[in-house]
């Protein structure tokens, strides 16, 4: 069953239209990647889902039309978004950031357990739980942003370059954790990732965007086999 479906989605910033009919669908428990050059509209696609940009077309989640909802309403439906760039609350401590991530949850005990889980996952954050997020290093902030999304226990995770600024080993660990999360709790995800090796380790299918529209969609295996994809995203 499809969890998320985008059909002919358009999006614009003020008068500037940047998505020109993007379609994709994420099945329940599935994992879909978005590839594309700088400025292709990957971030905008995720934003159109979480309601931070003006959109047209249809966006359905869990059988509901969610186009035009505010981002907190979207979040309340079970979509967590790890945004591009600094997605943390700078003047709040690491722990407070994680607590805010769990804002919609009521299960206090489980929240504490999940905080511990996040800190285990990102040992670098462990001795900095009391520090404010703005003091962290770039990579540490990125970890925290991912941790915040984990804390929400979403049905769908939107990851916008979640590995940005992470050391190779750490990026690997994070993606492993995400994979595990998917296996254990069946979270679906839509992943924007420039590091195609990482991306293909996570997604079943992917779509390639160019100037605001899909130009190609296929399974990981098929895409990996294509020459152009190799040259642009995989190297070698």
């Amino acid at each position: 069953m499809t969890l998320l479906e985008l059909k002919d989605v358009t999006a614009s910033y003020g008068p500037v239209q940047v998505l020109d009919g993007v379609s994709l669908s994420v099945p329940e428990g599935g994992s879909v990647g978005i590839l594309g050059a700088n400025g292709a509209g990957k971030t905008t696609t995720l934003r159109s889902i979480s309601g931070t940009v003006r959109t047209g077309g249809t966006i359905r989640f869990d059988g509901r039309d969610i186009r035009g909802l505010r981002s907190d309403q979207v979040a309340a439906l079970g979509i967590a978004h790890v945004p591009e760039g600094r997605g943390t609350l700078g003047q709040l401590s690491v722990r407070e950031n994680l607590l805010v991530g769990a804002y919609l949850r009521r299960d206090r005990k489980a929240i504490e357990t999940d905080i511990d889980y996040c800190l285990d996952l990102f040992p670098q954050l462990q001795d900095r739980v009391g520090s404010r997020a703005a003091a962290l290093s770039g990579g540490e902030q990125q970890m925290l942003a991912v941790g915040r999304a984990f804390m929400a226990k979403p049905k769908l995770l939107l990851l916008d370059e979640a590995s940005l600024g992470l050391a190779p080993g750490t990026a690997k660990t994070v993606y492993q954790a995400i994979r595990r999360l998917r296996l254990e709790s069946g979270i679906a995800m839509l992943v924007v990732e420039q590091n195609a090796n990482l991306a293909f380790s996570l997604v079943d299918t992917a779509t390639v965007l160019e100037t605001g529209r899909n130009v190609l969609t296929g399974t990981s295996a098929k895409l990996k086999g294509m020459d152009e994809i190799r040259r642009a995203y995989l190297g070698g």
Binding site: Y13, V16, L35, G36, A37, N38, G39, A40, T43, E84, G85, R86, Q124, S131, A135, L136, S137, G138, G139, E140, Q142, M143, E161, L164, G165, L166, A167, P168, G169, T170, A171, K172, T173, Q194, A196, N197, R231, A232, Y233, L234, G235
Partner: protein, 260 residues
Amino acid sequence: MAASLSLKDVNLHFGGVKVLQDVSFDVEPGVILGLVGPNGAGKTSLFNCISGHYKPSSGSISVDGTEVSGSAPSRLARLGLARTFQHPALQLNATVLQNVLLGAHTRLPGGPMSWALRLPRTVRAEREVRAEALELLGRGGLGWAAELPADELSHGLHKGIELWRALLSRPALLLLDEPAAGLSHGEVEQLIATVRRLRSEQDITIIIVEHHMGLISALTDQVVVLDHGRKLMSGTAADAQSDPRVIEAYIGKDAADDAA
């Protein structure tokens, strides 16, 4: 003129947190040095110490033999240091061209009175750097964006604008903080080409912080690895990538395979 850089026993503390401990290394003029290490190792902080944004708790930093630790960043910029930031720091409501032109500040002559009166030399200088900025942007494939406000460009392009801004100051020492973050493979290749050309055309010393090991291997003459604020090793990129300590602390076993 490329600058040399020398660090000796640089220490940096924030309250109880020891961010850098006894970091020492030298960079010869014209060299491209890679600075790598796990997240939170202190790479950006070290950049901040060199560029004057942080004042080291102790130790010495000298550029071309001049002691600069503790100097104001603006003074270092006037000495020929330029840098980019890990998180792009652009003026989002100004045009891309205005952002890049900011890099020319130290090159423009005259005080406020001369500019207010539009003395010919200021007008001429302004025209020159403007042309140069446009040329740089054109070369970087951003010519079309020159008059767009920076916030209308995607995140990935911001990194590029920062690079052009730093270059417009004609630096002798350039610090690049994760220039390849957010670039796809093909875009990284382009970046590598750009930096190579830069080095061949201009006499410049470059330090790059990067997690993209491909870029580090392709570009750097020398690599310094930081871990927990300490220098773990230094050598060539190949040395680093095969050093078990580095693999353990930084690259991770599987990742090493992938990057190969």
